[in-house]
């Protein structure tokens, strides 16, 4: 782009502005003669806008230069012009100011006159820079530095173009693994040369971790070599994960504006020598860079194994403890709170304690902790452990002293601090109490809401060993159980006996019917005088009876068998003999003999049924 081209652009812009002002004046002649404009109305942090106050009047209108917190106003030009339009003389004057935001946000620039309108400038935070076009490719010539040489503060190393620097401050050179070390990272950005901060600063070594790095850094301004730098400062703690010697540095991604052509080729740049004019006329392009701090040497030691206490949990620093318990008086079973307060400075994230564990006469629960920091980094403060404990027995109970172990990096040894033991007065629980409370039941006590209408006490009677009803007590349950079993057994026995009797009765009935049938047959035979039939029926009936009685087969009941068992003179044996005789000899009996033998047979049959 040539020098003549630039000059033409300026004149065209001025003419356009005049045309706008003239049209406005013609259309709204009663409007105030003082105007303020801002171009552009939306910028990013690190960029500048042009704020112009134009006075079309005679210059008598008082103008208040704006003052806005977070915006920096610098007057860069004043102009006075007189124009002749349609034969009318129009004087005008302008004040051109550069507006540089110091923070992102939406700013309201108050009106420059009472009748004018306020203006709004929107400043957005710096973008990641991915959409910002990069400058020329690898073949392009390196742009000349904007700032050269000069004395700079200790620990500050400017980038090649002088636009930014990063400084890492560590107060110690020797630390221990696990120790929390405060660090400070300072990012300086020359006003107008850095268009965006593309991320938070980070450490270049993976063996270190930054804790609690705030997203809102402290913002100040600093003069370096006569130039204004916006300085952002982050404070954090450094955690070291392994021993060794390290060269530690911090880096931060930035987008800076670099010139696209040698300084001598731009007469306008030479005239103004200011980045604002470079922005205005497109003399720079953005470029993403990583700015790194000078390395800091750091030696990390392993914690010594010798003398390490059993309750050491990794706390490194300087600590002290105190303890208390509340309430100081309680009932058995009531939870108490035992507190241990660890105060000091160090890595509180590793300050831990199991407090009391497996204590006789006490039931203990795991403690919980809370931390109140007294500094933004959490390096100092107070960590409070609260442990619920419950006394198992009444009386004055003692809670033993609490201990806490840590490593003191200054003394380079482990330390154990101890609190005082605590005494607690424990009363018996109400639930376990079987005695009356303080007021004796027989005494006259003041009437309360519970005593109005209370029925009087009883005379005490005999006591029982348990509140469980007798019928549910294990000692009593055998009584109904045995009773049930006994009655069940008795019922079964009675039922069995009844069954036998019933069976015998049935058999008796059957035998009786058979006997009656035989006797009827004998009666019929006697009526017709059939002696053989008479004795045959009698013998058959008696054979059945004797076979059952002697447990013999029916055919085994012969005259000989009967004679052998009952003798020769027995009536049955005689009946058997007469039966044979009547069968083979045809012997006849008279009515008297029939009746006699009929009676004898009946007597034997019936007596057998009875037995």
């Amino acid at each position: 782009m040539s020098k003549g081209h630039h000059t033409r652009n300026i004149w065209l812009a001025a003419l356009g502005l005049l045309g706008v002002l003239f049209a406005a004046a013609a259309a709204r002649a009663d409007e105030p003669l003082v105007y303020a404009t801002i171009q552009p109305a939306q910028i990013q942090l690190g960029e500048s806008a042009q704020f112009t106050i134009t006075n079309l009047g005679d210059g008598t209108t008082p103008i208040t230069l704006p003052v806005v917190s977070g915006l920096k106003f610098e007057i860069i030009a004043r102009t006075h012009e007189v124009q002749l339009i349609n034969g009318t003389t129009l004087p005008s004057s302008s004040i051109v100011m550069r507006v540089t935001p110091q923070i992102a946000g939406i700013f309201t620039i108050p009106a420059v006159t009472p009748k004018a309108q306020p203006l709004v400038l929107q400043v957005t935070a710096a973008s990641s820079g991915t959409n910002i076009p990069h400058p020329a490719g690898p073949g392009a010539a390196n742009p000349p530095p904007i700032l050269f040489g000069g004395s700079i503060p200790k620990g500050v190393r400017l980038t090649d173009d002088g636009s930014a620097y990063v400084r890492l401050s560590i107060p110690k050179r020797e630390v221990y693994v696990g120790e929390s070390v405060p660090v400070e990272m300072e990012v300086g950005m020359r006003s107008g040369f850095v268009s965006s901060l593309n991320g938070l600063p980070k450490l270049t070594d993976d063996n270190f971790a930054l804790n609690n790095l705030s997203h809102q850094p402290e913002r100040t301004e600093k003069q370096i070599n006569g130039e204004t730098f916006v300085v952002l400062t982050w404070r954090s703690t450094l955690a070291v994960v392994k021993p060794g010697s390290f060269a530690l540095s911090a880096e931060v991604p930035l987008t800076v504006k670099i010139r696209t052509r040698p300084k001598r080729e731009s007469s306008l740049d030479d005239r103004f020598g200011d980045p604002f004019w470079q922005n205005l006329f497109g003399a720079t392009v953005p470029k993403d860079i990583n700015v790194t701090s000078p390395a800091q040497e750091l030696t990390v030691h392993e914690l010594p194994a010798e003398g390490r206490p059993a309750d050491f949990h990794g706390a490194i620093g300087t600590f002290g403890i105190a303890s208390d318990v509340s309430p100081a008086k309680a009932d058995v079973g009531d939870p108490l709170t035992l507190r241990m307060r660890v105060t000091g400075s160090g890595n509180f994230d590793r300050v831990d304690s199991s407090m009391l564990d497996h204590l006789d006469q006490w039931k203990t629960y795991p403690p919980k902790s809370s931390f109140n920091s007294s500094d933004p980094l959490g390096l100092s403060g107070m960590k409070t452990f609260e442990q619920p404990v419950i006394a198992a027995k009444p009386g004055v109970q003692e809670l033993p002293a609490l201990t806490f172990s840590y490593f003191d990096p200054n003394k380079r040894r482990y330390e154990t601090v101890r609190s005082a033991s605590l005494s607690v007065s424990i009363s018996p629980s109400l639930a376990d109490s079987q005695t009356a409370p303080g007021t004796p039941s027989t005494s006259v006590s003041p009437e309360t809401k519970y005593t109005a209408g209370l029925r009087p006490d009883h005379v005490e009677t005999t006591a029982t060993p348990s509140l469980i009803p007798l019928y549910l007590q294990p000692n009593f349950l055998p009584v109904p159980s045995i009773l049930v079993l006994a009655f069940a057994a008795g019922w079964v026995g009675a039922r069995r006996r009844r069954g036998v009797g019933e069976r015998e009765s049935v058999s008796d009935r059957i035998a009786s019917r058979a006997a009656k049938r035989v006797l009827a047959q004998m009666q019929a035979a006697a009526r017709v005088g059939d002696t053989a039939q008479f004795f045959d029926s009698a013998r058959t009936a008696l054979q059945s009876v004797l076979a059952a009685r002697w447990q013999l087969a029916l055919e085994e009941i012969t005259t000989t068998e009967v004679e052998g068992r009952v003798g020769e003179e027995n009536e049955i044996r005689q009946l058997f003999a007469l039966a044979d005789e009547a069968k083979y000899s045809g012997r006849k009996l008279n009515a008297t003999d029939f009746a006699r033998w009929q009676r004898i047979v009946r007597q034997h049959l019936m007596s057998d049924n009875a037995t």
Binding site: G333, P388, P437, S441, D457, V459, S466, L467, Y471, R497
Partner: protein
């Protein structure tokens, strides 16, 4: 008949031995003593302990009208809802559990004897029928009493004011709700100094052993 007499003799000996054994334990509770203790707590403005001991006295002597009256009075004074007795409760209040227990045994004897005699003889049917009915009634009375008192064996009484009910059985457990002193709750489980309780409204949670007491001590 001789066998039956021998069996009855052995049974009576066994019964006597069991009865002597059941009475040989050391004594500890009396309904009157618990009632008087409850009165003392009521006078001392401790409604929780008063209700607890009235409930305990009521277990031993459900038929004592003084126990029931004072229990109702203290519950009402503590702004606890009144309890409506059901049918089983009325049965349980007929007599003390001691007499109800032996009444059940006597009823069992009547029923068993009636059934055995019925097997042995068919005479005196009316007498046997009356004895059977009486025995069944006595057994029913005992069962009704047991059904009425059984839930109370698994209940507890809150003895501290505004007792927190927690979500878990640890002192630092988050509180779900709180119970008034004297509230009767159902105990469903126990764990490490805490009891899982259920209120009449069906809400459940853990309560510290020091804040409540079971009606029947463990």
């Amino acid at each position: 008949m001789n066998n039956l007499m021998r069996t009855a003799l052995v049974f009576c000996l066994l019964l006597g031995a069991v009865a002597v054994h059941s009475e040989s334990k050391p004594v500890g509770y009396s309904a009157a003593a618990l009632y008087n203790l409850a009165n003392s707590y009521a006078r001392a403005d401790k409604p929780g302990m008063a209700i607890l001991n009235y409930e305990r006295a009521s277990l031993l002597s459900p038929d004592d009208p003084d126990v029931q009256a004072n229990l109702r009075l203290v519950r009402a004074s503590a702004h606890l809802p009144a309890e409506t007795p059901d049918g089983f409760d009325r049965i349980a209040r007929i007599a003390t559990t001691f007499w109800v227990s032996w009444l059940g045994v006597f009823g069992l004897t009547l029923v068993g004897g009636s059934l055995i005699v019925a097997q042995l003889s068919s005479r005196h049917r009316l007498v046997r029928g009356v004895a059977l009915l009486l025995g069944v009634s006595m057994i029913g009375l005992t069962l009704g009493s047991a059904l009425a008192l059984w839930p109370r064996l698994h209940q507890g009484v809150v003895i501290a004011a505004a007792t927190p009910v927690r979500v878990s059985p640890v002192p630092m457990g988050d509180p779900l709700f709180s119970l008034p002193e004297g509230e009767k709750v159902k105990i469903t489980a126990e764990h490490d100094g805490f009891a899982l309780i259920e209120t009449r409204a069906g809400r459940a949670g853990w309560i510290s052993d020091s804040k409540f007491a079971p009606i029947v001590p463990r």
